[in-house]
């Protein structure tokens, strides 16, 4: 009896591993292909010689990426916006979530509804644009941070984390010892909520690193972040590339470097975030769970 059950467990294990392996390949292969193409001869890439391994190995593309003034300045702008934006957003989340986590705060219900409404309803693109413009932010980097204000969905997760995962006894003991609300916030809440802090910091970083639409609308072409710079390389030039392809009859005639630049810039834009998130991955589920349980 026991043996046959063991066998069926083993068979189902094998089936599950096979299914997930296929899914893994489907998800990972496009990224792997771009990585390989970024160090291959573009002619070989478009001739279908780089399905598994690089062909005509070259690092010219990466050299070109780091010599291209637009990409370099885009990269540096993105770093700047990501660092400042993340500091700003996480601070906003914390200073909002902490008061909202106090069940006996007079007016808590009012503030709750005040923030929640903005989650479901907004002014829309143009009315928001007009306000950003009239507050003088257009063309300034602050237009990327301030209009976002408080990310209400994340704020609720952080608030619930404060309510559910920070020991109440500790806060009460501190209060009895004469610690002020601000003291509890700085000495107990912040040090004890590091997992959710890490998760929220990564979420903000990803959002700011990958954002281009806000920059497109508000920055007016100045200080473009990396994704917006890449739009000229990836989207606009692929239209002209396909035109060139129809005229000259193939990619052989095209400037190899332009094609290499596409693959390399995509890798440069994607890798920083792909390297960071595995470090906080173990907190994702925990954080979500603590945040989702209603206190």
């Amino acid at each position: 009896m026991k043996k046959s059950r063991g066998l069926s467990q083993r068979t189902s294990d094998i089936i599950l591993v096979l299914i997930t392996a296929v899914i893994l390949i489907i998800v990972a292969y496009p990224l792997y292909y771009v990585l390989i193409a970024s160090v291959s001869d573009p002619y070989d890439v478009y001739a279908g010689k780089t399905f598994l391994f690089p062909s005509g190995f070259t690092l010219d593309g990466y050299v070109a990426v780091f010599q291209d003034p637009n990409i370099v300045s885009g990269f540096l702008n993105s770093v700047k916006y990501t660092v400042i934006g993340t500091l700003f957003s996480v601070t906003m989340l914390y200073i909002t979530a902490y008061p909202m986590a106090q069940r006996d705060l007079p007016g808590r219900k009012f503030f709750s509804i005040f923030f929640l409404i903005t989650m479901y309803f907004g002014g829309g693109l143009v009315p928001t644009y007009l306000v950003v413009k009239s507050t003088g932010l257009v063309g300034s980097m602050w237009s990327l941070f301030l209009p976002g204000g408080v990310a209400v969905g994340n704020m609720i997760i952080v608030r619930n984390y404060f309510q559910n995962s920070v020991p109440k006894d500790l806060m009460e003991a501190a209060q009895i010892d004469g610690c002020s609300k601000m003291g509890i916030f700085l000495r107990i809440i912040i040090p004890l909520s590091k997992p959710i802090l890490a998760v929220m910091a990564v979420f903000s970083m990803v959002a700011y690193w990958n954002d281009w639409f806000t920059a497109l609308i508000y920055l007016g072409g100045k200080g473009s972040p990396l994704p917006l710079v890449m739009r000229n390389i990836l989207i606009k030039s692929s239209a002209s590339a396909s035109q060139a392809a129809t005229i000259s009859g193939g990619y052989a005639e095209l400037n190899k470097l332009t094609e290499l630049l596409k693959f390399c810039s995509m890798i440069v834009a994607a890798v920083p975030m792909l390297v960071i998130y595995p470090f906080v991955q173990k907190y994702f589920e925990k954080g979500f769970m603590a945040g989702a349980v209603k206190g």
Binding site: R5, F114, V126, M182, W209
Partner: protein, 312 residues
């Protein structure tokens, strides 16, 4: 002991302290809230007030209330524009099909991942499946444009064809939805995996002793456990049915696939930001929001009947 003592303190202290005193005691908390509240008023509530320009002929020099009131003129103009029906249809179809595909897939994925017993492999699967979520839509669209290229694109190389997918309007929805699944299906698993992680291990043990197979365990333990969360997600998604992501559509749109890729969000951007037709764009956006809110209210009503899951 302490269990009994604690609520007593809370209960006793509250009624004894007058409201004014409690507000003063919490001044530091209100101070913390000051900046978030001010920013929310300026950048969330003032734009809501600004929606009125949808009913006016907005001139920046005259301000919101000084501009001439034109009633439903801009809405009439939108409904009589030649591409209006096409845009509404495309918006609804793209989101409806997206929902149909991208709702069940994370559930199935998380049921499979949850059954993996080799911890390291399970973690690897999760790490890889989350990865595309962290990539910019700009990069995803760049990849799509290269992969779908008629000459030397990955898809055409694999199938030995030379189809220019991005000029085929019949392919647009498939491209949009498939790439969306690639990017976010894995990430969508997190909330389900977290739910499954909380299942009482005793249930599995009992099921194993009773000789239940993996599929019986999934069907009888995991699936019922996921159902409330799945319903909640479905409701939320249905409430945002008219919210087609602007970014991806705009980056993948070509003159030749507009028959299916022309959506309201892109139109709102083009009219409002590129052409500076502020009032007209606001009216179109408001129509979109109005439909969404009606959907959300309907769905919310159904939800409160189906289950007692709370939103707020």
């Amino acid at each position: 002991m302490s269990q009994q003592y604690k609520p007593a303190v809370g209960v006793l202290r509250r009624p004894n302290t007058p409201l004014g005193r409690r507000i003063v005691n919490n001044w530091q908390l209100y101070l913390l809230l000051l900046i978030p509240v001010v920013l929310t008023i300026i950048y969330k509530y003032v734009p809501m007030y600004g929606i009125q320009i949808a009913f006016r002929d907005f001139k920046a020099s005259r301000g919101y209330t000084g501009s001439e009131w034109v009633g439903l003129y801009w809405f009439q103009r939108f409904f009589s524009s030649p591409t209006c029906v096409r845009m509404i249809k495309n918006t609804v179809l793209i989101s409806l099909y997206s929902l149909l595909w991208s709702f069940p897939i994370p559930i199935i994925l998380s049921l499979i991942i949850n059954q993996l017993r080799f911890r390291r492999y399970k973690r690897l699967v999760q790490t890889v499946l989350y990865a595309p979520h962290f990539i910019s839509i700009m990069v995803v669209c760049g990849m799509l444009r290269i992969f779908l290229s008629p000459s030397g694109g990955l898809i055409n190389l694999i199938f030995g064809t030379s189809i220019d997918f991005l000029t085929e309007s019949s392919a647009f929805r498939t491209i949009y939805i498939a790439s969306g699944i690639w990017q976010d299906a894995g990430w969508g698993c997190i909330i389900y995996l977290a739910t499954l992680a909380n299942v009482d291990p005793g249930l599995y043990e009992a099921a194993k002793i009773d000789g239940a197979s993996v599929f019986q365990r999934i069907k009888n333990i995991d699936l019922p456990e996921l159902l409330p969360m799945a319903i909640l997600n479905l409701i939320m998604a249905a409430g945002g049915l008219m919210n087609v992501g602007f970014e991806k559509v705009w980056l993948l749109q070509t003159d030749l696939n507009k028959a299916t890729s022309d959506v309201i969000a892109v139109y709102v951007y083009q009219q409002g930001i590129e052409n500076a037709k502020y009032s007209y764009s606001t009216a179109v956006g408001l129509f979109n929001t109005a439909v969404n809110i009606i959907l959300l209210l309907i769905v919310n009503k159904i939800a409160s009947k189906v289950s007692d899951v709370e939103f707020v």
